[in-house]
């Protein structure tokens, strides 16, 4: 009984998540909003979901595509990931270094150091 109820709950959870996740576009589809967004630039009249992959890369207007197109010019970095984590989203990375520092201080405070 103690293991039966969580098993049923897990199954229900997994099933509902799978049902939800099947609503995603297939893997690799360039029309996923995370990649292409819902907007397009002034150069075209087509909506994003009517475009081919090449047209998406050229005309769709989203943050991801902006990073892919303009990060070398905006930041001077060749590597796009570095351009994002150290320039566009640099505030996150600062706080992330702080998280590591917090973990160090936390471990020191929990374990303590040997007194020499």
């Amino acid at each position: 009984m103690k293991k039966f109820v969580p098993a049923i709950l897990f199954t229900v959870f997994a099933f509902s998540m799978i049902v939800v996740i099947l609503r995603f576009a297939p893997i690799g589809d360039p029309h996923l909003p995370g990649y292409a967004g819902f907007d397009h630039s002034e150069n075209t009249e087509k909506e994003v979901w009517e475009m081919t992959k090449e047209e998406v890369v050229q005309y769709a207007d989203s943050v991801a595509l902006h990073y892919n197109r303009h990060s070398p010019g905006d930041t001077g970095a060749l590597d796009i990931i570095t351009a994002i984590i150290f320039d566009y989203r640099a505030y996150d990375t600062l706080i992330e270094a702080t998280v590591l520092f917090t973990a160090m201080i936390g471990v020191l405070s929990i374990i303590g150091t040997k007194k020499n």
Binding site: Y35, G73, I80, L100
Partner: protein, 134 residues
């Protein structure tokens, strides 16, 4: 038809299965170290989800598209990027780099706690160390 539907999204389904395995280890395993492993499996499943959603079919990864030797100025790079090379989505990778560091921190803290609990109680079994009844 539905097999095609599932096969095209197989990474997402693996994500959900991994998520449930991690949740199982976290909630039902009595050993504290196994619970920590459960947290790590959970986090890994979320990373897999992010990276799978970043893919664009036949698109090169963001690091693959140009080397420093081939391209020498920003205008050329911008031209190469705008319209000719369908690179994958770079944002999930960047977010996951942050999330990994957070996961490392949480793991470090939880391992430190596990060591201290083992010293104080002599066991890692939650069924034996449960004194507080919330």
């Amino acid at each position: 038809m539905w097999i095609k539907m599932i096969l095209y999204r197989i990474d997402y389904i693996v994500t959900v299965i991994l998520f449930c395995i991690g949740l199982y280890a976290l909630i039902l395993k009595p050993n504290l170290i196994k619970k920590i492993i459960g947290i790590n499996i959970l986090e890994t499943s979320v990373y897999l989800f992010f990276i799978a959603s970043a893919d664009v079919r036949l698109g090169p990864a963001t690091c693959q598209w140009a080397g420093p030797s081939e391209i020498s100025n920003a205008a050329e790079v911008a031209h190469a990027a705008a319209g000719h090379v369908p690179l994958v989505n770079p944002i999930p990778s960047a977010l996951i780099l942050t999330a990994i560091v957070v996961s490392v921190s949480v793991t470090a803290i939880s391992l430190a706690l596990a060591i201290k609990i083992y010293e104080n109680y002599g066991t890692l079994d939650t069924r034996k160390i449960m004194r507080l009844k919330g």
